[in-house]
Symmetry: D2
Subunit: 345 residues, 4 copies
C-alpha cells in the first residue's frame, strides 16, 4: 500500500511515522509539513534517524493525491475539512484524525467547533472504532478516526450500555491525559515546568469538545440520548489516558458479572484486554501499544459500578487506531504493524 501523511509536524504525525516505517504492508510515499518543509524527517524527529530517508514535503493535496492509495490527515480541526474533500474526490482512502467528520449532526458540530466547510462529506464518514463498527469501516473509504478521550470512554462503556443494569443519566467520567495530547505547538501551558510535578483539571463543567462525540456514540449504543459529565485532567506523563467512570447500578450486579459481560462483549478482540477481578489498568502497562485495558469494580456501599479504562492516546487514541482502520479497509490483517508490546517500565 502506498501511504501518505498529510500534516506530519505534530505528535500524531510522528506516531504515524513511527508505526508505518515498520508496517509490513505499507510504503510511505510522503509526509507533509509546512514548518519543516524540505528537511529530512530526522531533523524534526531524531528518533527516526536511519529509519526513513524521506524529507518533509510542502505540497497541496492536489499535488500529492495521485501518489498514494491511503492518506492519513493529521491536521487540526478546521483545516482537515478543507483538505479531506480533495483526497476523497481523488479516490484515496482517507483516514482523518481530526474532529471534523466525527459528529453526524451538523448543528452539534457547529455549536462546539464553528462553521463546517464540507458539510456534504459528513455523511460519507464512518466513525472508526473497529471493535464497535468493524463492518461499516471495512466497507468505507473515509474514516473519521475517534478522539483520544472518546476512545477510552466508549470502549469502557459499550458493554454496560448493552445491558439494562445501569442508570444512563448517571454517567460521570473523570479522565486524566498525558501531555502529548496537547500537541507539539509551543505554548506556555505545555512547558515542562508548567506540567511536571503538577496536576490540574481543565475545561471543568462540561466544556470539552470531546463531549458531543462521546455522547453521540454512547447514545447510539444505548438507543436513547445519553448525557454525561466529563472532566479532563492534564497529567505529567508523556503518553496515556486513564478514564475512571462512575455509573449508578439499577440492580444488584457483582464484579464477576461485570468481568463476564465485558469478556463476552469483547470476545476475541485483539486490542481490548479485560483485567481479572481485583486488577486495574496502569498507564505504564499500555505505553506505545494499541491496547485498551479495562478494569472493573462495584462499590457495594453506594451501588455504583466503576470502570477504569486506559489507552495510549497516541496509539489507540490516534495513530494506532487509524492504522487499524486502514488495515480493515485494505483487507490486511487487522493487527498488521500493531503487534506492539508495552514499554514497561
Amino acid at each position: 500500500m502506498k501511504i501518505g501523511i498529510y500534516g506530519a509536524s505534530g505528535y500524531t504525525g510522528q506516531e504515524l511515522l513511527r508505526l508505518l516505517v515498520r508496517h509490513p504492508d505499507a510504503e510511505l510515499i510522503f509526509a507533509t509539513s509546512r514548518r519543516f518543509a524540505g528537511q529530512p524527517i530526522f531533523t524534526a524527529y531524531p528518533s527516526l534517524i536511519e529509519l526513513t530517508e524521506l524529507d518533509f514535503l510542502d505540497a497541496g493535496p492536489e499535488e500529492v493525491a495521485q501518489m498514494v492509495e491511503v492518506v492519513f490527515l493529521a491536521l487540526p480541526h478546521g483545516t482537515s475539512m478543507k483538505i479531506a474533500p480533495v483526497f476523497h474526490r481523488a479516490g484515496c482512502i482517507v483516514i482523518d484524525l481530526s474532529a471534523d467528520f466525527r459528529l453526524h449532526n451538523l448543528a452539534v458540530y457547529e455549536k462546539w467547533y464553528g462553521k463546517h466547510e464540507a458539510p456534504d462529506l459528513i455523511s460519507e464518514a464512518v466513525y472508526g472504532i473497529p471493535e464497535l463498527c468493524r463492518d461499516q469501516i471495512r466497507r468505507s473509504r473515509f474514516v473519521a478516526n475517534p478522539g483520544c478521550y472518546p476512545t477510552s470512554v466508549i470502549l469502557g462503556m459499550a458493554p454496560l450500555l448493552d445491558t439494562d443494569w445501569i442508570d444512563r443519566s448517571s454517567i460521570i467520567v473523570d479522565s486524566k491525559s498525558g501531555t502529548s495530547g496537547a500537541g507539539r505547538e509551543p505554548q506556555m501551558g505545555s512547558l515542562f515546568c508548567e506540567v511536571n510535578e503538577g496536576l490540574k483539571a481543565y475545561k471543568v463543567g462540561g466544556q470539552h469538545r470531546h463531549i458531543p462525540e462521546m455522547e453521540q456514540i454512547l447514545s447510539q449504543l444505548s438507543g436513547e440520548p445519553v448525557t454525561i459529565s466529563f472532566t479532563p485532567h492534564l497529567l505529567p506523563v508523556n503518553r496515556g489516558i486513564l478514564s475512571t467512570i462512575y455509573v449508578d447500578l439499577l440492580r444488584s450486579v457483582t464484579v464477576d458479572d461485570l468481568v463476564e459481560k465485558y469478556n463476552e462483549f469483547y470476545g476475541e478482540e485483539n486490542f481490548v484486554r479485560i483485567f481479572p477481578k481485583g486488577m486495574f489498568p496502569n498507564l505504564l502497562c499500555i505505553k506505545g501499544t494499541n491496547y485498551c485495558d479495562i478494569g472493573l469494580a462495584v462499590d457495594g456501599r453506594t451501588n455504583r459500578a466503576i470502570i477504569v479504562s486506559a489507552i495510549d492516546n497516541l496509539v489507540k487514541g490516534a495513530a494506532g487506531q487509524a492504522i487499524q482502520n486502514m488495515n480493515l479497509i485494505c483487507d490486511l490483517p487487522e493487527e498488521a504493524g500493531l503487534t506492539l508490546v508495552p514499554l514497561f517500565p
Copy 2:
C-alpha cells in the same frame, strides 16, 4: 515550646522536621527513629544538613515524655494507639498523625483497621481540621490529625453541606495523590520505575480506609448520614492531592453562587484559597505549603457541581495541619511556622 517527634523516619516525620526547624516558637528536643537510631538527622535527610544538630533517638515514650510540652506522633496506625496514652498521661499535648483516634465509633474503627488497644482515649481526641472545629481544638490537649485525602475532600465539601443545594447521596470523589503518600518504606509499588510515567487507580470500589473518616465528618457537617464513592489514584509527582468531586444539584445554582458561598464560608481563613470563576487548582501551585486551593464549576448540561480541591499531602494533609493545630492549642499565631510560599515551578 519544647517539641518532640516520635517516629521521624518517614516522610511525615521529615516534614515535621522541615517545618519545625524554622518555627519561631518551637524548640525541637528529640526525634526518634529505630531505623536511624544514634545517627545524625542529616544522614537520613541530607536536605537538613546544618539545619539541625540533633541525632535520632531510639527511646520509649516514658523516657522522653518529660522532656517536652508537645509531641507529634508520626507512627503507623496500630502503633500510635500504644504510644499516645503514655504521652497523654504524662501531660504532653499530643498531636497524633495516625488514623488511630480519628474515628469516634469504635466499631467502625475496628471494621476498617482491626482491634483498638486504647478505646478509652478515643473520646478524648479532637479531630483536627482548624477551619471547621477551631474552638474544640483550642480547648483540647489531644488531636487526631486528619488524613490527607479526607482533608482535601472535607474542606472541598463543607460549604456545600451547609446548604440545601445538593443531593447528599450523590457525592463521588475522584482523588489523585502524589507518591509521598505511600511512605518511605521500601516496597515495589513505590519504586520510581513503577510510578513514573504511570497512573493507576487503587482500592477501587470503596476499599480505602479513609472512607469512614470522610463519611464521619461529612455526616456531622450534614446532620445526616452521608455515604460517598471514593477512588484514589497514584500519581507520578512527589507531593500533592487533587480531589475532583461530583455532586448532583437539587436546584439551579450558578458558579457565581458557589464562589460566593465558599468565600463566605471560609471568610478570612489563612489557609483556604477560593479561586475565582474559571480558575482551577494545580498541584504545582500549593507545593510545600499549608494551603487548600479550591476551584468551582457547574455543569449545566447535567446539573452537577464539580469541586476541585488541592493540598500538599505532607503539609495541609499532615505535618502542616499538625503544626496549625499545635499553634491553636498553644495560643500561638495560627500561621506561625507556616507562612510558606508555594514552590513554583
Copy 3:
C-alpha cells in the same frame, strides 16, 4: 526597603516575587510585564494568589525609578543594558540578573553576546558572588548577578584555586540543569514531552555563553588565565543544577584534605554546605533554597579530584543570590528572606 522588579514575566521574575513577598524588610512596589500588563500577578502565577495584591505594570524605567530604592532587572541580555542605566542614573540600587554586566572585558562580551550599548557602565558593576567578594558588593550600588552555571562551578572550584594542588589547565565541567533554566517563553525544546524521560547535552564543544563568565572569575581567583571544558545537559527536573567537575591533581591529596580545605575556605558561610567524606549532593536536597551543596572525592587510580556542586538555579543561581546581594548592600542580615528549608521530597 521599597523594591521593584523590572521584567517579572519569567521564572526568575516569579522567583523574586516568591521570595520577596515574605522578605521581612522588603516592600514590593511594582513588578512589570508587557505580556501580562494590567493583570493581577496571580493570573500569571496562581501560586501567588492571596500572597500579593499587585497588578503587573507596563511602564518605562523612567516612570518607576523614583518609586523604589532597589530594582531587580530580570530581563534578557541585550535588554538589560538599555534599562539598567536609567535606574542607575536615578540613584536606585540595581541588581541585574542578566549577563550584560558580568564580563569586565568588552571585547569578550561582544564576541559571545553581540554589541554592548552601555559599555561605560560595565566598570561600575560588581560581580555578585557574596562568598567571594562580599566587601565589594557591600560598597557597590550596581550588581551583576552571576549566571546559574557559573555560580555552581565557581563556588565548587574556588577553594581548590586557592591551593597549588591542581593542574589549572585540566578543569572539565559536566553540568546538568533543570528545565526552568530555559525560561518561560514557549519553545518546542522546552515542552514537557520533549524533556520528560529525556536527557541531552547541548552546546557541546565549548559553545555556551557562560564559559567566558566562568573563566573570568576562575582566572581572577587563580591569578592566571584558566580555560575550561564545559558541557551543559538538559535535565527532566524543574529546578537545580548539578555540576560534576574533574581536575588533575599535581600531588597526592586525600579526600580528607579536600574536605578540610573546603570547610576552612567557606568557614561560617550560611549558604555553602560542605558534605562530609562519602556524601554527595542531590538536587532533591537543595530545592527552593539558597544553598550550594558541595561533595568531594579523589580518584586515586587516575589522581584526579572530583567536585560535585549543587544549587537551585532559580535561587542561589538567580533570585536568591540577588536578594543576598541586596541584603549586603542594604546592610540587612545577609540571610534575610532566605532562611529556606529544602523541599524534600
Copy 4:
C-alpha cells in the same frame, strides 16, 4: 529456537520477556522466579497480560536445562556463577547477563566482586559486543553480556582508540543512568520520591564495578593499558544511559574528522547511529530500542574531543544486546526481534 529465562523477576528479565514474546524465531519455554513462583507472568507484569500464557517456574537449572536450546541468565552476580555451569554442561547456549564472566582476569574480578566460584568457565566466555567481536560471538556457546555503562562507553570510544589522535590517559567519562538500572528490588534509594526531581552522583572517585570491565575492553582495543575516570549519576527517567566522554586530542582534529572516522568504523552496523555534526543524542530518541546513538564534538579552545553516547540500558545495555548475541550464535538475522522504533515522546 526453544528459549528459557532463568531469573525473570527483575527489569532485565521482564525486558527479555517483552522482546522474546514477539521474536519471530523464539519460543519461550520457561521463565523462572522464586518470588512469583507459580503465578502467571502477568501478575508480576500486567503489561504482558494476554501476551504470554506462561506461569513463573521455581526450578533448579538441572530441571529445566533439557527443555531449551538457549538460556538467558538474568541473575545477580555471584548467583550466575553457580547456575551458568549447569546450563553450559547440559549443552545449552548460555547468555549470561550478570558480571560474573565478563572479566578475563580472575584477580581483577575478585578484587571488585569477591570470590569467584566457577573460575574455570571464565575463559569459555566471550564478551558480547557484536559490533566489536562478532566473529568470536558467532563461534561461541557462552556469552558474557556486557554491562550497561560499559556498552555505552566502549561503543563511544572504540573508533577513537583505533586512531593515534588521543591521549589514552586522559579519558573521563561522566555517565547518567535511568533508574531501571537499579533493579526492581525494593530499596529506599530507588523509591519514586527519592529519585524524582533529583539528580545525584554515586560511587564517585573510581568506585563503580563497571570500571574494570570498561578498562579491560578499552585496553584490548587500544593495545595498551587504559585507565579512566568514571562517575555515574542517577537520573529521574525510567530508561537510558547517556555518557559524556572527554578526551585530550594529541593533534588537530575537526568534528568532520570525527564524524567520518565513526561512520567508517561502524559502516553498515544496524544498531549504531552516528549523528551528523551539530546533532547530539537524547535519551528520548532511543527508548525501547537496541540503538546506540553517538554525537561528536571538538572543543577547539581546550583541544578536547567530546563524545556523547546514548543507549537504552535495558535493551542495548542488557536484553536487546543479549538477543542480538543469541541471533548471531543461532545464525538468525542479527536484527531478528530487534526491529524496534524508538518510543518518542
